[in-house]
């Protein structure tokens, strides 16, 4: 359902924006509809966009099946023009209503299909090739049906243009174009979809860590309440940050995603993780604690404030992962200034994202053991996950060998805790043996990462690739981007491109999806071959100077990721933006469009 709504809106959006700037798709320029006026005539209606016109003598009508015969169409009076070649021609502007009489030879026909071919032009100085639009009319009910355009039946009929691949931000902005509640509901669904992306997975261990870290036996209600508070914190942050950023047009994610902030978060996770491993108990001073517990007796949910704060922080962490919907919503807010709708949409999106977390909260209360040795194992498991999140957080700005070392260390450490190196007692049960298997796998994988780190492997997904005797280290050719840092530089480079399509990639060191794009998409052969005919520009906005801000503002972007294309005349190709990660196949299709323009 969600996907359907999205596609529908995408379709509207792409038709509205059109593949070529300043020119409407024929379906939009000449909106067509038809209905049965009575049993013997059809009313054909056109809503012609301002600046466009249709020729009176170029209409052609066809009815199917063959038993239905169209009579002579009755046209209203149009505008008369002197045409040097055709003499006098009549054209229509605005709304047009044509009556087409018809007869049906057989009585048992329940529906007829009408195909109308029209020819029109735009005042900007182009004409559309003959365009066919279709409608199905039900005779029995004397009702109309939605018009549609499809494959051509006559040599001058043309198929409806394929919608251009709109950028993700377009799609989201289109979503917001609908009704208020539709937008809010759609965003909730969107959030729900996002919750299935890997982005939200880091939140699960954070939340579980909180719930288990509460120490005392966690009831179902308490787990759920804690999760709810956490999700609420996240949602309010999104709403507030969205509105604030939209109003100021500031580079939200840049300020929150710089190495220092991310590093601080990572440090918090490490601290939390270590307490999970039982190195120390994280406790507030006794006096404060007693005062707080007194308060929490009155307040349901216990350490609500802390959990809420954690939710707020988590929202910021996962930010870049959900860049596309965020950018779309921010784009809309900044353009429409509809702060209420923008905030509400982001809030409901975050709530949608939080649904699985609520489930975790509710189930954690039910599923987690109340006490005992197993509790310790689960705590350690989440401790390991928290450490993994910490490494993930710092990975964008950590050199690869160090990243691999950290992953290796984590895996080896986990293996030791899983008792991979301890001998199993002869009477060990299934669970113990299973744990040992997992531990050994982690040990080997961790070893591989450590070796990779020390042998200079360059691929985190192939830590031992550097050891290949014959293959050697893959020389990953960096994409030949020209760096630009200001609007003036951009304009100059676009001028220099002279006839070549231009791609502008916004990049920052902290932008995870930019790195993914570089590693998985730009390096793909299909993408590389298409790059050859293009001028590639890259704006590294890591430093976030005033000039960087001006660059972003020019394209109504709030920060990377964002890839923008310019046609051969140096104009931006609307509707072709790529925001967020795209796999090579999809990206290659976008490039084809950019080149084909």
């Amino acid at each position: 359902m969600m996907r359907f709504v999205l596609l529908l809106l995408l379709l509207c959006a792409s038709l509205a924006r059109g593949a070529e700037p300043d020119l409407l798709e024929p379906d939009k320029a000449f909106r067509f509809s038809a209905r049965l006026k009575d049993a013997h005539s059809i009313e054909v209606n056109y809503q012609i966009a301002p600046g466009y016109y249709l020729y009176r003598d170029k209409f052609r009508f066809a009815l199917t099946p063959a038993e239905a015969k169209a009579g002579a169409a009755q046209f209203p009076r149009g505008e008369k023009h002197k045409d040097e070649f055709f003499g006098e021609v009549e054209t229509y502007r605005g709304s047009l209503s044509i009556v087409l009489p018809f007869e049906v030879a057989k009585a048992d026909i329940s529906a007829i299909k009408l195909a109308v071919t029209s020819q029109g032009c735009a005042d900007v100085g182009v004409c559309y090739i003959p365009y066919e639009q279709n409608a199905e009319l039900k005779l029995a009910a004397l009702t109309s049906s939605a018009p549609r355009s499809d494959a051509p039946a006559s040599p001058f009929g043309v198929p409806a243009a394929a919608p251009a691949a709109g950028g993700d931000d377009d799609r989201v902005a289109a979503l917001l174009g609908g009704g208020f509640w539709l937008a809010v509901a759609s965003f909730f669904g969107f959030g729900l979809l996002l919750s299935f992306t890997p982005c939200v997975l880091p939140m699960v261990p954070i939340l579980s860590g909180i719930i288990i870290g509460a120490g005392r036996p966690v009831t179902r209600t308490k787990g759920f309440t804690l999760a709810a508070v956490y999700v609420l914190g996240m949602a309010i942050t999104y709403a507030a940050a969205g509105v604030a950023a939209g109003l100021s047009g500031a580079m939200l994610s840049a300020t929150l995603q710089n190495p220092w902030v991310l590093g601080a978060f990572a440090a918090i996770f490490v601290v939390l993780a270590l307490s999970m491993f039982g190195f120390y108990e994280l406790q507030l001073p006794a006096t404060l604690q007693s005062r707080l517990s007194g308060a929490s007796n009155r307040l349901p949910g216990g350490q609500g404030l802390g959990v809420f704060a954690m939710g707020v922080l988590s929202a910021l962490i996962v930010g870049p992962c959900v860049a596309a919907p965020l950018a779309g919503a921010l784009l809309y807010i900044s353009q429409s200034r509809d702060v209420v709708l923008g905030g509400a949409a982001l809030f409901s999106m975050a709530l949608g994202m939080g649904v699985p977390l609520l489930a975790v909260g509710a189930s954690a209360g039910a599923l987690l053991p109340k006490a005992g040795a197993w509790m310790e194992s689960v705590k350690r498991f989440f401790g390991a996950l928290l450490l993994a999140v910490a490494i993930y957080l710092v990975s964008p700005f950590t050199p690869l060998p160090l990243q691999m070392f950290l992953w290796g260390a984590l895996l080896v450490g986990s293996a030791v805790y899983l008792r991979a190196v301890d001998t199993l007692p002869a009477d060990a049960g299934g669970v113990q043996r299973f744990g040992k298997v997992v531990g050994l796998i982690a040990l080997v994988a961790g070893g591989a990462y450590l070796i990779g780190a020390f042998s200079g492997s360059r691929d985190i997904f192939q830590p031992l690739a550097g050891l290949r005797a014959t293959g050697g280290v893959e020389t990953a050719h960096a994409t030949p981007f020209q760096r630009i840092a200001s609007v003036a530089e951009l304009d100059a480079r676009i001028r220099d491109a002279a006839g070549k399509p231009v791609m502008l990639d916004f990049y920052a060191d902290w932008c995870v999806s930019c790195k993914e794009m570089e590693r998985f998409t730009f390096s793909d052969e299909r993408v590389k071959t298409r790059f050859q005919g293009m001028t590639l520009l890259q704006a590294d906005v890591t430093a976030n100077t005033a000039e960087h801000g001006a660059l972003l503002k020019r394209f109504r972007l709030f920060g990377p990721p964002g890839i923008i294309f310019f046609d051969r005349d140096g104009r931006e190709m609307q509707g072709l933006r790529v925001i967020g990660f795209q796999p090579a196949e999809r990206f290659a299709a976008v490039l084809d469009q950019a080149i084909g323009q």
């Binding site: 070649f85 299935f196 469009q593």
Partner: protein, 181 residues
Amino acid sequence: MQTRTLALFAVVAVASAMGGSAYYLWSRSSATVVDRSLTPGAVMERVYATRLTDLKGAGQGLDQWRGRVVVINFWATWCAPCREEIPGFVSLQERYGALGLQFVGVALDQPDKVAEFAREFRINYPVLIGGLDVMDLLRQAGNRAGVLPYTLVIDRQGNLVGRERGGLKESKLEGLIQPLL
């Protein structure tokens, strides 16, 4: 106790797997948008493979002008902006024809109207009649809305160097062509 923990792990594993596949499907679904426009090279292949009939009804391949600077102009008699640019084309053909410039008109129109127009405006270059496949070619060449006039400029090496939508001023086209000759 043990089963409960295992159940938790199972839930997490299943949720991750479901999430992964849902994300995959979702990201794939947005990739299904059909792209009909081709790369310049592919457009030229299509252009050279196109055969049309001329005003006498004889077949003409668009590849016969290889080696010259070719301007292919898609037009129609009922399209006023198309008609406006044609006198300019006639003049350019007259001045640069000997240097290797070749205009080719492709009309999406009725042959009798086109023949009448060609006589009246003294078109001094070949005019061919286009049908359904030409409309397809137009779209693949990047003219997605399907509009006229549309003009392709091809250099001597057969590279597509210009695509112009809408009426072309004689001076602008001249500036585009001169460096190619």
